[in-house]
């Protein structure tokens, strides 16, 4: 366990965009446009994911095992455009959770509370 938590901590903190992608891919597999679209819907206050940046994140997370490529869901459209679907791995979920906990702890601090609530 301690080895694993060490590995998780190595990733922290992660950038807001990385965190967004991990969250978006947590429950269902999405392709590129799916990620962008879901991001716009679910996190309207966050800066939009640009395509170049998105695929750099995807590439990096694939390499580090935070997400993995999965088979397209049966209901996805079949056309000439190549779409691959990605989903957060167990490690990815753990990292996202650790990041959330980290931020939560930060937000729970009296100083942050004072900032937020005056």
């Amino acid at each position: 366990m301690s080895h694993k938590s060490n590995k998780i901590n190595d990733f922290l903190p992660i950038s807001p965009l990385d965190f967004q992608v991990l969250l978006l891919l947590q429950h269902e597999p999405r392709h590129g446009y799916g990620i962008v679209h879901a991001g716009e819907e679910l996190f309207p206050s966050e800066p939009p994911l640009e395509i170049g940046s998105l695929y750099r994140i995807v590439g990096r997370m694939l390499d580090s095992g935070l997400i993995r490529e999965v088979d397209p869901p049966p209901e996805s459209p079949r056309d000439a455009r190549r779409r691959r679907f990605y989903q957060t791995t167990e490690l990815g979920v753990a990292v996202a959770r650790a990041e959330a906990a980290r931020m939560h702890a930060l937000l729970e601090s009296p100083q942050a509370t004072e900032l937020l609530h005056g």
């Binding site: 962008v36 395509i51 455009r81 779409r83």
Partner: protein, 901 residues
């Protein structure tokens, strides 16, 4: 589904910017995602068509920008990741930074101590480059680049009277008659003042103990205000005090400290000047310095009321401060109007006269600037040569260390640590060089000031400037880092096994490395040649200046000044009697062969220039500007001036006799041609004079400027004013021991008189060419430094190349090559490098030498002796520098050389 469209094509093309691996993984997806987004936008029918198109365009643009920046980032990160992958990912203990620095410094010292030759040459190069430059820059900076030491000094101007068509009078003085009119009539002047810088500004300060000669400057009211200088305490002169009976004095801080011992109650007390009590009304601040009037001990009011202030008597130096926003042109127009008015009031008196305003800065710096800019250029060249040398050294050293770096990388040294190590080494060498350079610079500034002539404007203000030192250090250190650390850093990027595989010599022996170094040395040779030619031209010029015939014989001639205070010698008769008596006493001294005196010594510059009035052939009255000298005794004999016609002055030419004069050959030829000028009568000042003799020409200036000159005898002209006479005594033995005897005679006649400025005539002449000598010395120093650095460069490259080629030379010798052939190879290389450099240098020197024209005397800028001799000298040095390594090459034992692999 829509088609790919223009946007799609653009995005597809941009996806190619990504690295290969990324592209193959994601390019198709990137395009697909873009198209999906675009389609979603275009298919969204809740918004208007035009708005949809706009949004799609915005999407395409923002995606394009993002792809470009992402591709750059990805490429950069990829190379970083690759480097990281090459080295095993081991967590190493991170040393604290300060400790790393000390470790590196120790390591650097250890490495460097094994290479004393490199260190010595590098430090010497840095020290010379930094030191010489900072010293000259400091002088230059203080004298030329810094503004005058006054508030808002750009508003200060100098006022000249000039006579059209007469170079003698192009920058003449103002008259005491005109000045008050200018003061009242030119509204553009905030303040304006005059001072009497002309001469005779020395005063005898008597009181306790021996009399002391001090420099006093007569100034009008407004003088301190123009410079915006306020007294430490007390007040400045008022307009009402601008008369001859105002016995007031303002002391300099120095005189207040030295003479009155900082007497706090000095105001209102009196000091004795020439036996006359003067009331002290102020003490100036120590920082006040008059760049026009010079370094003086005290100020007294200028008399602007006596009849001496006639229209024709031009003797005052004018300065002014322009009002805020007033231009020189505006003030010029106003002063022209006043001048026109003056001319109207006195028709004829102001013909061909003009008043010119010049910014004070230009006026003060004037001719000094050419000299200093040439020196600046020369010091820049030395710095460049030093940098090239440092580059060469560093390059040689760093390529030689490629293997060391490779081994250390292979052993797991971090890239950052190696770079840090190299930087530390460079910094250590630079620090030592910098310290040595600073010392040299400090000493250099002091030496420069010590040998700098009085004529160097504003020399008083020169101070050692640390920013300049910083500049020189930065220049050389950056060069060192660039050429030293850069190749080494590059070598770290090379995979260690590649370097290690590359034979025994690393990359150092590659032809490219040698070529770069040869080009650097050639550049050095060419720069050195430029400097050497510059120095050569100056030496030639100085020699011809030295041997110039000034028309006098200065051997064993002693000079000194005697000033008689008007208070105790009020009439001309008193002064004439005193001088005649003193001459008789001096003549009686042992070894004295002739005693004369003059109002101004030959070859000491222009002095009194008056109009020589004569009638031309048409019977019209004409005026010729001529230098006038009041002389006494055996003036011509004492200086070896020849009498060409008629006679010289005799004791009978006194106040009771007719007024007589001598003219020089130049004047006689110009006005009288072949006619005999003896007996001609001319107007001079307010009287008429008869020519009784013609004497040979003497130079006005040490650069041999000859012109019309008139001599009057003090016995007749001593009543005109209180002339300060300079005694000229010819002795049969060297003149040095003469002064004590002369002083005794003087003091026995009048105990409160001072034998002022005792100098031999050689000394007087030497001072005149002191500036030329100063420039010459500096150039010679620069040239020597350049030559040494070039020699070091050639030697360095060749001995290094011999080291690299030991194996090859060994084989050649084993195969029967003779020593001369081996030497030929090495010396040939030297000849090629030097030849290349000299060709470039000759072209450069030819191009640059014309800028030196104004500094040269009697030498053309393309002097064949210099342009032939200097390259020959450089060739000899190059040969010697090349011969030493060549000789070493022939001593190589083929067996040892072959075994060395």
């Amino acid at each position: 589904m829509r088609g790919i469209g223009l946007g799609g094509i653009l995005i597809t093309a941009l996806a190619h910017l990504f690295p290969q691996r990324f592209r193959s993984r994601f390019a198709d997806e990137i395009v697909a995602t873009y198209l999906d987004r675009r389609d979603a936008l275009l298919d969204n029918h809740t918004i208007a068509h035009g708005s949809r198109l706009l949004r799609a365009t915005t999407l395409t643009i923002s995606t394009s920008m993002n792809l470009i920046s992402s591709a750059i980032a990805e490429r950069y990160q990829r190379s970083r990741r690759q480097r990281q992958r090459r080295r095993p990912r081991i967590r190493i203990w991170q040393e604290p930074m300060i400790k790393t620095f000390f470790t590196d410094s120790r390591q650097a010292l250890r490495t460097l101590s094994k290479q004393p030759g490199y260190v010595a040459v590098a430090v010497l190069t840095l020290a010379l480059g930094i030191g010489a430059n900072t010293a000259v820059f400091s002088v230059l900076n203080s004298v030329i680049l810094s503004p005058l030491p006054y508030p808002e000094s750009d508003r200060l101007i100098r006022i000249y009277n000039s006579w059209e068509g007469s170079p003698d009078f192009s920058r003449n003085y103002l008259s005491g008659y005109d000045f008050p009119r200018f003061r009242d009539g030119v509204q553009g002047f905030e303040t304006v003042a005059v001072m009497y810088t002309y001469r005779e500004t020395g005063r005898d300060l008597t009181g306790d103990g021996a009399a002391q000669r001090v420099k006093a400057l007569h100034v009008s009211s407004g003088y301190f205000e123009t410079y915006r200088a306020t007294p430490l305490f007390g007040r400045t002169f008022t307009r009402e005090e601008e008369h001859g009976d105002a016995r007031l004095a303002i002391l300099s801080y120095r005189l207040w400290r030295n003479y009155t011992n900082e007497d706090p109650d000095i105001l209102g007390k009196t000091i004795d000047l020439d036996g006359d009590a003067h009331k002290v009304i102020a003490v100036m601040r120590p920082s006040f310095l008059d760049v026009v009037g010079g370094d003086v001990d005290l100020w007294v009011p200028q008399d602007l009321q006596s009849e001496r202030n006639s229209r024709g008597n031009h003797y005052l130096t004018g300065i002014a401060r322009l009002g805020p926003g007033v231009t020189v042109e505006q003030a010029q127009a106003q002063i022209d109007a006043v001048q026109a008015q003056l001319a109207e009031e006195a028709p004829g008196s102001y013909e061909e006269q003009r008043v010119d305003l010049h910014p004070l800065y230009e006026d003060v710096v004037g001719t000094t600037s050419t000299t200093l800019f040439i020196l600046w250029g020369a010091s820049g060249l030395v710095l460049l040569i030093a940098c090239v040398n440092v580059a060469n050294l560093s390059l040689a050293r760093s390529v030689g260390r490629t293997k060391e770096m490779a081994i250390r990388t292979a052993l797991g040294s971090g890239r950052g640590r190696l770079v840090g190590q190299l930087l530390t080494e460079s910094v250590v060498v630079a620090a030592v060089g910098g310290v040595a350079g600073s010392l040299l610079a400090y000493w250099g500034v002091k030496t420069l000031l010590a040998i700098s002539p009085e004529s160097l404007a504003r020399a008083e203000e020169v101070a050692f400037d640390p920013t300049l030192l910083g500049f020189a250090i930065a220049a050389t250190v950056i060069t060192g880092l660039l050429f030293g650390a850069a190749p080494a850093i590059h070598s770290i990027n090379v995979a260690p096994n590649e370097s290690l595989r590359d034979g025994t010599r690393g990359n150092s022996g590659t032809k490219r490395g040698r070529n770069i170094r040869s080009v650097l040395v050639a550049a050095q040779v060419s720069l050195a040649l430029v400097l050497l030619i510059g120095a050569g031209l100056l030496i030639r010029s100085f020699l011809s200046l030295r041997h110039l015939d000034l028309g006098i014989d200065a051997e064993n001639v002693a000079t000194f000044e005697v000033h008689l205070p008007t208070a105790r010698y009020p009439t001309g008769e008193d002064r004439i009697q005193f001088h005649l008596a003193l001459q008789d006493r001096l003549r009686a001294l042992p070894n004295v062969t002739a005693v004369g005196a003059a109002s101004w010594l030959p070859a000491s510059g222009m002095y009194n220039s008056w109009g020589y009035g004569y009638f031309d052939e048409a019977g019209e009255r004409q005026w010729l500007p001529a230098q006038i000298r009041t002389v006494e005794g055996d003036y011509t004999e004492a200086l070896g001036i020849q009498l060409l016609r008629g006679r010289t002055f005799e004791p009978t030419d006194n106040l009771d006799a007719d007024r007589v004069a001598l003219v020089n050959e130049a004047l006689a030829k110009r006005l009288y041609g072949e006619r005999n000028p003896l007996g001609e009568v001319f107007t001079f000042g307010s009287g008429e004079w008869t020519v009784i003799g013609v004497v040979s020409d003497v130079a006005h200036e040490a650069r041999g400027e000859f012109g019309p000159r008139v001599y009057l005898t003090h016995s007749q002209f001593g009543t005109n004013r209180n002339w300060a006479l300079t005694y000229i005594v010819k002795t049969s033995t060297p003149a040095r021991d003469f002064y004590n005897l002369a002083r005794r005679e003087l003091v026995s006649m009048d105990g409160s008189l001072v034998l002022y400025q005792p100098r031999t005539m050689d000394d007087v002449l030497g001072r005149q060419i002191a500036k030329d000598k100063f420039v010459l010395i500096l150039m010679a120093v620069f040239a020597t430094v350049a030559l040494s650095l070039a020699a070091v460069g050639i030697y360095g490259v060749l001995s290094y190349s011999v080291n690299q080629r030991v194996h090859e030379i060994g084989i050649r010798m084993a195969l029967g090559a003779r020593a001369t052939q081996v030497r030929g190879i090495v010396v040939g290389q030297a000849a090629m490098v030097a030849g290349l450099g000299m060709t470039a240098g000759l072209v450069g020197a030819y191009g640059l030498s014309r800028f030196m024209q104004s500094l040269l005397f009697d030498v053309t800028v393309t002097d064949p002796v210099v342009f032939g001799g200097v390259p020959a000298l450089l060739a000899v040095v190059a040969f010697v520098a090349g011969y030493l390594p060549a000789r070493r090459a022939t001593r190589i034992d083929p067996m040892v050389a072959l075994r060395r692999e």
